[in-house]
Amino acid sequence: MTVLFFTIAVTLLAGFAFKAAQLRANADAASTKRRLAALPRHYGLNGLLSVVVPAIVAALICATAAVPYGGWCVVAVGAVGGCIAVIRSRSDFSARNAAERWIMGLLISASGVAILTTVGIVASMLFETRSFFDQYDWRAFFLSSEWSPNFRGGSSLGILPLLWGTLYISAIALACAVPVGVFAAIYLSEYATSRTRSLIKPAVEILAGIPTIVYGLFALITVGPMLRDSFAQPLGLGDSASSVMTAGLVMGIMLIPFVSSLSDDIINAVPQSLRDGALGLGATKSETIRQVVVPAALPGIVGAILLAASRAIGETMIVVLGAGAAARLSLNPFEAMTTVTVKIVSQLTGDTDFASPETLVAFALGLTLFVLTLGLNVVALIVVRKYREQYE
């Protein structure tokens, strides 16, 4: 019996309950609508929901617990729900409230999905990370500076070179994106005419809508070879097209719209009266911006930068295609290095054995990444929220 069959069965049952509940209520009121406590369609709706909602719940339980004859259980649960609803459909039964309670339940469980997702993320990673640390010493993971996985055993899985690569690339990306993004935001919100603004803002937003794989390919075919030929090789710093610099620059471009649109919102939220006051005292426009607007918006801008940093740390495709795969601790920005996300991808793609520490390490890396970005996000949210309240 396929899923399709039971879906159809439950649907038919629901339709049947809809009609039966209506008919029963009507009959009880002797076909006089005024005696009914709710509209006929509310009785029907209650009947329908009494079948569907319990059936969905039963289906979810049966699917996760692999109950034998699960499909029939689902149909049975739905049938029982429908029968109860039909029996209760008397003329004095307030069917609207009953139906709305079902809907409310659905709405609440929909918002529960968000919580479930977080729980799922944390639980899945914690579980696998624990089995990783059963097999591999946690001190070696966090403190070793050597990363050389070997699927035949005896691998060193130190996170430090990966973290170094991640932070190095993110730092370069932020060093590009923050000044450009903040100045672009200042120019757009303070200087640009509304015409220029309406032309340039969508163009900047296009950058935000481009998928990261496109940036990755840009790094791979254009930026990488260009940097190698015009900087790395003439300066004798290396001859690899994929490098920290490549990934950092391209990631910087990706982050510009992110920084600029967030800063733009925040600068716009600074009340006009502050600007007017400064201008009235004889300050030039740039003095107003530097000494009044930016200090007032600073917490928000810092929040935006933190969010951008969390983006940079979690970014995957650009570094997979632009940064290389060699784990190393080095200061040379033209050398290939690797990041936490690259190693998650490389340890988990292809044929993987979920008992070996070489695979499980990806979950520990993922958890580290999650904790890092979560910390940044929470701080950023708190900062931004605090700031918003100031002027509201």
């Binding site: 396929t2 699917a63 709305e100 809907i103 709405l107 609440i108 929909a110 918002s111 999905v113 968000a114 919580i115 997702t117 977080t118 993320i121 899945s124 990673m125 579980f127 696998e128 903040v182 100045f183 672009a184 120019y187 340039i200 163009a203 900047v204 950058l207 809508g209 998928p211 794989i213 990755g216 390919l217 840009f218 075919i221 254009t222 471009i253 510009i256 719209p257 600029s260 030039t284 426009k285 740039s286 003095e287 969010l307 969390s310 979690g314 995957t316 495709m317 997979v320 996300t341 998650i344 991808v345 988990l348 793609t349 993922g366 990444l369 999650f370 970005t373 996000n377 929470v378 949210l381």
Partner: protein, 440 residues
């Protein structure tokens, strides 16, 4: 005190004005850098990718020799199937020789290297034509055959005589021959819409690779995301915006959603791998798992935009409905939701566009696999959306990992396709917003 004219700026004013001009210039430079980066990005990718929409074909009259292709001599289908593409290569070579001689071209290329002109796919094309219509055997049939990726690259300017000299898969003589054939009208480069329909092809034949499976897989996943994320997202937003009491729990949910929106996408891939594949035992690389992962990823986006849309509906609408006896639920579903619908749709489309371009989580759930079969939406073994597929962005990634540079061109072509889809979706979102936006 010296007398100063108001019309002459003193040093300090000049300094301040210069600082002002400099500051403004910084802003201009920042904008210019941004726009330049955008232009560089688009021209680089589009410039490389346009070539993928053109393909070089050779017109070859192939003598379908019965002695080679049909050893049974009676057209027995089983015997016909036994002849592999290797057998067909022989007739192809014969056909090439005849065509070249017929056009009066002389060449230094040795006969056994001639086959390198054509794609490895060409023999399969002829074989399929013959298996589809065995009556062709014995006749000389004119075929339009794919040319080898190197030859194709030569006509697009990717391969030059110098690079061919170093390449063991082709030679300058072959390129000269191809040029002569083109001059004689035997070879033609034309628009290649089959890029959008063909399945992926192996490392050896970039010229035959297409996006058919990837587009289909992406479409399936978008359907799943739409069907799941829209109702769940709207439901959650309605509850949080209209009904939720202000307490600890709703606060937790709010912070949660804000955080989920900023979780790195690869973490969702780990979630999908651990929960949907290892725990729930769903099929690896199936659009179902991909769709579920993308749904979870898109939900926060949809919730955030839906809540903004609900917030924008003025309270007077709700009050009016409540005033004439509607329940709270009725006021929301009958009045608030329809008014917020354009905003919700816009947010959903933008969320879908985001999901369409997402790569990293799909890598982890095995969508990088090499898939040549078009996945069916439903099959008895694999269930709904359970057959292996790839997705557009993953196919792009996949092609960038191959050694033949022709695949880079294909990847860029695929990016153009992806960007066109995204453009259409975003344009639809902007159109909806313009058309139905309402201000109170």
């Amino acid at each position: 005190m010296t007398q100063r004219s108001l019309l002459v700026a003193d040093d300090r004013t000049k300094r301040r004005n210069a600082a002002e001009a400099r500051f403004k210039a910084y802003g201009r430079v920042a904008i210019a850098v941004t726009l330049l980066a955008l232009a560089a990005l688009l021209t680089s990718v589009v410039g490389t990718g346009v070539g993928a929409f053109k393909q070089t074909y050779a017109t070859v009259s192939v003598p379908l020799d019965r002695a080679v292709l049909d050893k049974s001599g009676v057209g027995d289908p089983a015997a016909l199937k036994k002849v592999t593409t290797l057998g067909y290569s022989k007739v192809l070579k014969r056909g090439l020789l005849d065509s070249i001689a017929g056009a009066g071209i002389t060449t230094d290329v040795r006969d056994k290297h001639l086959i390198k002109l054509l794609s490895k796919e060409a023999a399969a094309t002829v074989r399929n034509a013959v298996l589809g219509n065995p009556d062709l055997i014995g006749q000389t049939v004119e075929f339009d055959l794919l040319m080898n990726g190197r030859i194709d690259g030569f006509f697009k300017g990717r391969v030059t005589m110098e690079s061919a000299a170093l390449d063991k898969n082709t030679s300058p003589e072959l390129l000269t021959l191809a040029q002569d054939m083109a001059d004689a009208g035997l070879v033609e480069t034309r628009l290649n819409w089959r890029l959008l329909t063909l399945p992926d092809a192996s490392d050896q034949r970039p010229e035959a690779a297409g996006l058919g499976v990837a587009i289909l897989g992406s479409a399936y996943m978008m359907i799943i995301v739409l069907v799941l994320a829209l109702p769940i997202g709207v439901g959650a937003s309605i509850y949080l915006e209209e009904f939720a009491p202000k307490n600890r729990l709703t606060d937790v949910i709010e912070v949660n959603i804000a955080n989920l929106a900023a979780v790195p996408s690869i973490v969702y891939g780990i979630l999908g791998l651990a929960i949907f594949i290892n725990f729930a035992q769903l099929n690896q690389s199936s659009p179902l798992v991909g769709g579920l992962v993308l749904t979870l990823m898109t939900l926060p986006t949809i919730i955030i935009s839906t809540r903004a849309a609900l917030k924008a509906v003025p309270p007077s609408i709700r009050d009016a409905a409540l005033g004439v006896g509607a329940s709270k639920m009725q006021s929301v579903f009958h009045h608030v939701l329809p008014l917020a619908a354009p905003g919700i749709l816009t947010g959903t489309i933008i969320g879908l566009a985001q999901a369409l371009g997402e790569t990293a989580p799909l890598l982890l759930i095995g969508m990088v696999a090499f898939v040549r079969e078009y996945p069916a939406a439903y099959s008895a073994d694999a269930g709904l959306f359970g057959e292996a597929a790839t997705a557009l962005p993953v196919q792009i990634f996949n092609w960038t990992q191959r050694s033949d540079p022709a695949f880079v061109e294909r990847a860029s072509g695929a990016i153009i396709t992806l960007l066109v889809f995204l453009l259409i979706m975003n344009a639809a979102a902007i159109f909806l917003r313009r058309k139905f936006e309402r201000r109170w």
